[in-house]
Symmetry: C2
Subunit: 310 residues, 2 copies
Amino acid sequence: MKKIAILGAGFVGRSWSILFARAGHPVSLFDTVADTADGALAIIDGSLNSLHSQGLVDDPAAVRGRITIAGSLADAVDGAVHVQECVNEKLEVKQAAFRDIDAAAGPDAAIASSSSTMPASAYTEDLPGRHRCLLAHPLNPPHLVPLVELCPAPWTDAGVVDRTRDLMASIGQVPITMTKEVPGFIVNRLQVALLNEAFALLEDDCISAEDLDKAITDGLGLRWSVVGPFETIDLNATGGLAHYVDIFADEYHDMIKDRGAPRRWSETIVDRANAAMRARWPLSGIQDRQAARDRKLTRLAALRSDTPKA
Amino acid sequence: MKKIAILGAGFVGRSWSILFARAGHPVSLFDTVADTADGALAIIDGSLNSLHSQGLVDDPAAVRGRITIAGSLADAVDGAVHVQECVNEKLEVKQAAFRDIDAAAGPDAAIASSSSTMPASAYTEDLPGRHRCLLAHPLNPPHLVPLVELCPAPWTDAGVVDRTRDLMASIGQVPITMTKEVPGFIVNRLQVALLNEAFALLEDDCISAEDLDKAITDGLGLRWSVVGPFETIDLNATGGLAHYVDIFADEYHDMIKDRGAPRRWSETIVDRANAAMRARWPLSGIQDRQAARDRKLTRLAALRSDTPKA
C-alpha cells in the first residue's frame, strides 16, 4: 500500500482521505488553514462511524489510524505516489497549489485535481511536471457516489491516466476516462442537458417541480442507477440499441426539436423552482435533508457492495 | 377493494394485474388473443414467486387468486371502477379499444391508456365518455419502477385525474400529474434530452459508450434515484436552488450553448453506440441481461419499500 497525499481538508479532501485509507493506503492530509486540518479528524471519525454502522467500513479505528495530518505541504507529498488536490475552486488558488505540489512531489507522483469545473490545462501548462497532472473529479458525496471523472490535459502522459484509473478502481471507486477536455466534463454536461429540459417543462407549465423530481427518483433515475442510458435503450427493444433507434429516433427528434438551442434559465423560472423547494422545505432544514440523502445513499452503497457485478 | 379491468395480457397488462391484485383489488384480465390470455397466468405466477422471494409480495397465491381471465371485454369491464388499456401501440388499435371499452364500461369507470407515445386525445375525441379517459403511462418494468405519468386530454374531467392519482398511489405506484399533453410526456422528454447529449459526447469522441453509461449508473443516476434533479441542486449549495443557480447558471449555459438545436442521431453514431453494446454483450444474451436488470431493480424495490419516506 502506497502513500497518498491529500491537499485541502474540506469536505472533498476528507472524503478522499476516507476512501484511500479504507482501501489500506497511508494518507497524509494537509490544509494551509491549521484549524481546518485540526478539525478534520473529528469529522472523519463521525463519517467512519456512520459508514461502519452500514457495513461499509469494517474497522473504523484502523482506517482512522492510517490518516495523519501533515505539518506542511512538503511533508504531505513526501514519498506519495498520488497527490489529490482539493483546495478552493478558484483558478489562482488551483494554480498556486499545483505549482507548490509539482515543486515538492517526487518525480513519479501523479497529481490530480478534484475540480468540478476547471480542466487541468488551466493550472498546469507552465509546470515542469505537467505531464503527470490530470483531473480526477469525484461526485458529491465522494464516499457514497463512486464515480470519478478522469480527464487528461493535452500534455498529460497516457501512463499517468492509466495508473490513476487503476488506483481509483482499486479503492472501489468507478473511474471513467475522457479522451480530451470539454467544458463541464461528462457528468455536468449530462446534468445540464436534463436540467434544461426540466426547467423548460416547468416554464411551459406542464408539471410541478415536485412531480418532475419524482419522474426521476421513482422512474428514470431509479432505472438509470441500474442500467446506463445506452444500456437502457439497448434492453428496451428485442434487437438492441440499433433496433430501438429504428423504432423511436424520428419520434424522439420530432418531440424535442422545437426546443431549439439551449436557453439561459430565466429569472422567472428559477424563482418558481426555488419557491417550490422552499414551500416544501425551509432553508433552515437543508443540513438535515443532506443527511437524509446521505443515509439513503449509504444504504444503496451497502446494497451495491453486496450485489454481484453483472 | 374495487374491481379493476385490464385490457391486453402482454407484458404491461400482466404487470398492472400484479400491481392491482397485490394491493387487494380483484382484477379481470382480457386479451382478444385467447392464447395470450391463457398463457398470462403462468407467467404471472413466475413473476409473483420472484417478487415473493424478495419480500415484495407476502402471499403469491392470494394475489394470484384475485386475477381472473375474462371471456370477453364486456365481462372484464363489467362493474370495474378503473379500466387500464394495454393493447398494441398502434393508433387504430387504441382507437378501437377505447371505442369498445367506452361502450361497455359502467358510467363511473375511469379509462386509462398505458401508451408510452400517444396522448389520450388521439383516441378519445369522439367518444361519448371522453371525459373519463386519460393517459396513465407506466415505466418498464411497471412492477419494479413505480412511476406512472398521468396526462389528461383537454376534455378529461379533473375529478377523474384526481381519482386515478389516488388509486395509483394507493397501490404503491408513484403518480405524477401533467397539466396538458406534450409530445413524449415528461419521462421521455427528459430521457431524450440526456440521450441527445450522450450521443453528441460519443460523436465528439470524448468518451466511450461504456464509460458514459457508468457516469450515470455510478454517478448521476445513482444520486438521482435518491434526490430528483431540482432537489439535487437545491442540496448542493448552502442557500438552496436559487443560490446554486447564482453560482453555476452562467457557466452551465456557456458549457452547453454551442450544442445548438437538437440534432437527429446520425447513422454513424448510432452504429458506433450499437457496436459498443454488441462488443460487450451479444444480442443473444439480451433476455439474461433484462433478467439481471430486473433482479437489481427488485433488490432496490425491496430496499426502498423498507426505507422511511423522507
